[in-house]
């Protein structure tokens, strides 16, 4: 039922799309900016530029009714998605501590917000009663080898890969010192770049 309605809706919307070649009003998937027309427009314009050098007359025309001749994807509307997620400064700080990576600048945060918005589309999929799938090999028994030592004695070789070792130990700076606050971190990292 859902699929039939979806197909009718999508073909209508696809017709609408072709009447208005530049703007994707309904937020049909064209890339990550599902519901942002500005992003959709940018992508459309690039595609048009990309294909403008194609000579229409050189495109051979093949016809097979079994191959769908128009896009079949269904629109994802704004009202189907949860509210857009904003990433506030304290969450930025938390993620930077967890990942031990910095966002560098506001662009990085904006990028994350767009990534979250893109991922929000998952919520339109009905997964009631569906078990999560961690691996495609879930119905197989993992191969286990015999518990027998077959290799080793490579400590010297492995330690040789590290920049700082001492008498068979990896050398690390003192632990148990929390990462500095964000402002101080920024200064530190700028310094480390130089």
């Amino acid at each position: 039922m859902y699929c039939t309605l979806g197909r009718i809706t999508s073909s209508l919307q696809c017709v609408a799309l072709y009447l208005r070649p530049v703007r994707h009003r309904c937020g049909v998937y064209v890339g990550p900016h599902v519901v942002e027309n500005r992003g959709g427009q940018n992508i459309t314009r690039h595609r048009k530029k990309h294909t403008s050098s194609l000579s229409q007359s050189q495109t051979p025309h093949h016809h097979n009714p079994k191959v769908p001749q128009t896009p079949t994807w269904e629109c994802v509307r704004e009202d189907q998605l949860p509210l857009p997620t904003k990433v506030p400064p304290d969450l930025v700080d938390k993620l930077e501590r967890l990942a031990l990576l910095d966002f560098r600048n506001q662009d990085g945060v904006d990028c994350l917000e767009k990534a979250i918005r893109f991922a929000d589309q998952l919520h339109v999929v009905n997964t009631d009663g569906v078990e999560p799938m961690a691996s495609v090999l879930e119905d197989r028994t993992l191969y286990l080898r015999d518990d027998r030592i077959e290799e080793g004695d490579c400590a010297e070789q492995l330690l040789g890969l590290a920049r700082n070792t001492l008498e068979g130990y990896y050398v690390a700076p003192p632990g148990n010192i929390p990462l500095p606050e964000r402002d101080e971190r920024e200064v530190l990292l700028k310094y480390s770049e130089m």
């Binding site: 016809h63 769908p68 001749q69 079949t72 999560p132 495609v136 090999l137 690390a172 530190l188 480390s192």
Partner: protein
């Protein structure tokens, strides 16, 4: 030593000379070691090669010389194949253009071809090679290697394969060992094989597949031999055309080729039928979440202590880790890690990560339903369009491009199925268009047999570059590696 003008091979100096000399110092007496004895190949630079620098095109691993060799590479070396270099890629295999590595972007040799210059005009800039295994695809397309290894997590072997006009196989998950392949997404990564003909891909597959006790996610290979039959009878084959694979943005020319090949199959007696994989459009979203989550976990190992880049900042362990990662990861890697960490937060775990895992099951079930219904193989486009000019490609960020370029390829990774891209035709700009065949798990050989059948009939043209390229026949071809040097049609 062939000079690589396309920045495809970035390690062809002393290390490879050593490998070459070792191989050639004792000329083989008697029988060859196998079908690949003496055959030059290259390997994407995210496969570990003992004592040979392995960088993943990242500052993080510049100078890193692994203490071991990846299983699939070792198998090839044991056969007597000659490793001529490590190929360029997107940093840590994250990307779909091979434009974001520390060695610079990979250029598609087809955009230097006579065909492209004639049709696209003298001002047309060079185009991307696709990614993230762009270097490997170029190495094969430009004939600096007979075959190459790539990796395929969301299409990273098939995408550049299609854009560079070569055969690219993503094997069934678990068929080839991942030991030594620096992991991106453990539940989806596979080593990929790039060749100019499907029969060569079958030869390489036969050498590489098999259980590996160093990779517990390997599965026993099927009992059937990988040697392709002379000709497959397509009258017994049922081809499915999934309607959801006409995604927005599919170019008219790719659509036309898709239709042309469906016609071809039908004319030759195959049964061609439309099928539905209803969750396809959500697959890319699902992939995005699972990929970033697993990446966040896998990239945690790079802290500067045991190997790789180490910052000079020694205030504390945490500061060292943060500074090391700040200095050595590019924006693409950084952003994926941060996104992954977001999705894995306690408050988001169920909403995003577990949800994505459930959607993954739905996608795998879509395929299972179609194959259990009797369809033997699915025919789909590989990419939305032919290769974009570099100047245009970089106008959108890496993540945006990946969500566009990986649309048709990543569902096979989600379901662990084999898929192969077959060079089909040149676009009106003189650039390759490829089509993809997806099969049920462990039916890799049948997939390649169909690919070979198609190649014979599609007459895909040879790359014509002005200048100094060896003509077929100048270099000897080992028995068993048919079709590698001939301008295959």
């Amino acid at each position: 030593m062939l000079y690589p003008p396309f920045r495809d091979v970035h390690r062809h100096g002393n290390d490879c000379d050593v490998v070459m000399n070792e191989h050639h110092s004792a000329p083989p007496a008697g029988k060859p070691k196998g079908p690949l004895d003496g055959i030059p190949f290259s390997v994407k630079d995210n496969f570990c090669t003992e004592s040979m620098e392995t960088t993943c095109a990242s500052r993080m691993l510049k100078g890193y010389r692994p203490p071991y060799t990846a299983t699939v590479v070792q198998k090839l070396l044991d056969q007597g194949a000659v490793l001529i270099g490590k190929t360029n890629l997107d940093e840590f295999a994250m990307g779909s253009g091979s434009t974001d590595g520390v060695f610079g972007p990979v250029q598609n040799p087809w955009s230097y071809s006579v065909q492209y210059r004639e049709r696209a005009g003298a001002d047309a800039g060079w185009t991307i090679a696709g990614g993230s295994s762009g270097g490997s695809a170029v190495a094969v397309a430009a004939q600096t290697s007979f075959f190459a290894l790539g990796s395929d997590t969301g299409g990273s072997t098939r995408n550049p394969g299609a854009l560079c006009g070569v055969v690219a196989l993503k094997p069934t998950y678990g068929l080839l060992s991942r030991h030594g392949l620096i992991p991106l997404v453990n539940s989806m990564d596979v080593p990929g094989i790039l060749t100019r003909s499907a029969s060569d891909a079958a030869t390489v597959l036969g050498v590489l597949q098999g259980l590996d006790k160093k990779d517990s996610t390997t599965i026993p290979p099927p009992a059937t031999p990988t040697h392709l039959p002379e000709e497959i009878d397509v009258r017994k084959i049922r081809i499915g055309i999934p309607r959801e694979y006409h995604a927005p943005g599919l170019s008219a020319e790719t659509l036309s080729q898709w239709t042309r090949v469906a016609d071809l199959f039908e004319r030759e007696g195959a049964s061609v039928e439309p099928v539905s994989l209803p969750h396809t459009q959500h697959s890319i979203v699902c992939y995005h979440v699972l990929c970033t989550a697993e990446v966040a976990s896998n990239m945690a190992r790079f802290d500067g202590l045991e190997y790789g880049h180490r910052s000079a900042l020694e205030d504390s362990t945490e500061a060292l880790y943060a500074a090391t990662r700040h200095e050595a990861f590019n924006d693409v890697v950084r952003r994926r890690i941060l996104a992954g960490n977001f999705f894995l937060l306690k408050r988001n775990y169920e909403l995003y990560f577990m949800k994505a895992q459930k959607v993954r099951r739905l996608i795998a079930q879509d395929f299972a339903r179609v194959f259990h219904g009797g369809v033997d193989v699915l025919l789909t486009p590989t990419t939305l369009t032919d290769a974009a000019p570099y100047r245009q490609f970089i106008q959108e960020d890496n993540r945006t491009r990946s969500t566009q370029e990986d649309v048709f390829t990543q569902p096979a990774n989600m379901a662990g199925l084999p898929a192969v891209t077959v060079p089909t035709a040149l676009s009106s700009r003189g650039l390759p268009i490829g089509l993809q065949l997806i099969g049920p798990a462990l039916h890799d050989t049948r997939l390649l047999a169909l690919a070979a059948w198609l190649q014979k009939r599609l007459c895909f043209p040879r790359l014509e570059l002005a200048g100094t390229w060896a003509e077929p026949g100048d270099v000897g071809v080992a028995p068993g590696l048919q079709g590698a040097l001939q301008g295959h049609t």
